[in-house]
Amino acid sequence: MTTETTKSIFFKGVRDAAPFLLVVGPFAVLFGVVATQAGLDAIEALGFSVAVIAGAAQLTALQLMLDQAPTLIVLASALAVNLRMAMYSASLTPYLGQAPLWKRALVSYFLVDQSYGCSILAYELHPHWTLRQRLAYFWGTVAPICPFWFILTVVGAKLGGSIPDWLALDFAVPITFLAIIAPMLRTRAHVAAALVSVGVALLLAWLPYNLGLLVAGMCGMITGAEIERRLVIKGAWQP
């Protein structure tokens, strides 16, 4: 077995997360462009990306603000998109729960889909890692993702005004979301949750302030959880 130094584990994290820059980079540029077209300047777009670091939630909030939805609806819908972060937080706790509070706070701030996905997989594969090594790996996964999230948001904001109409950029947002959703549909429960959400959202699309989305989200979650529960009882659950 090769000896692993903390430094080599950090760079392993960098290498594992780096390919995701191909997804995150264009998404950050897209957010910058959409934000400019919604009337935000580069500082405001960057403020969004630094405060939230979650593209889907940022785009949701922006879309609802353009529809002049009430603040509470904007926040509730965008935070609903981010509820999965609470699940990430719960699942990393057994591995990082012993770290000092300020380090856990810093990890929380940088907890994004890519840093979580890489880290949880690595922690399961390397149960002998010390807390220090686990943290080094986590920072390794953050390094090629989060700084570029900020920088490329600004690049997108600067490009924003110069995107021609024929690029049909209005449809970049749904296409990006669909591409993110497809790989999530791993089980029957996930597929059912998504289908119920789509059905309810379309039926309730006439409701003001995208209230239909909140109802659709709740119906989808309950559907997914209930189907999982029944499959577990039947012994047919394969996560």
């Binding site: 879309q63 699940m87 937080s89 719960a90 057994p94 990890v107 790989p183 959400s197 659709a216 959880a225």
Partner: protein
């Protein structure tokens, strides 16, 4: 369009809320186990919220004044199909965008 004061209010509140969601277990709850039914619902949040967000954008696109548009519907279908097939977000985005441009050119 979007009022500046309102924008910063949303940015700050959304930032704080997102941080709390990420910090809630790691920082506050620590090693105490969660009730399984909560974890079970949390597992489906993304897959329940995002499709509901996208569906109206695909079926009633604002760019056509909310009238369903064959080019956009087919492009969305291709994106989803390629994403399911390749499990690759970049491939799905590129195929969806290519489909959209070809159809907008042919039908436009």
């Amino acid at each position: 369009m979007i009022d500046t004061g309102w924008l910063w209010l949303v940015i700050i509140a959304l930032g704080a809320g997102s941080f709390l969601l990420r910090f809630v277990f790691l920082g506050l709850i620590g090693d105490r186990p969660l009730p399984p039914w909560i974890l079970r619902h949390l597992r489906y949040t993304a897959v329940a919220v995002l499709p509901g967000l996208v569906a109206p954008m695909v079926v009633f696109p604002p760019a056509t004044g909310g009238v369903p548009d064959p080019a956009r519907l087919i492009a969305a279908g291709v994106t989803l199909a390629v994403g399911l097939w390749l499990k690759n977000a970049i491939g799905a985005i590129l195929s969806g965008a290519a489909t959209l441009y070809i159809l907008l050119y042919l039908l436009g």
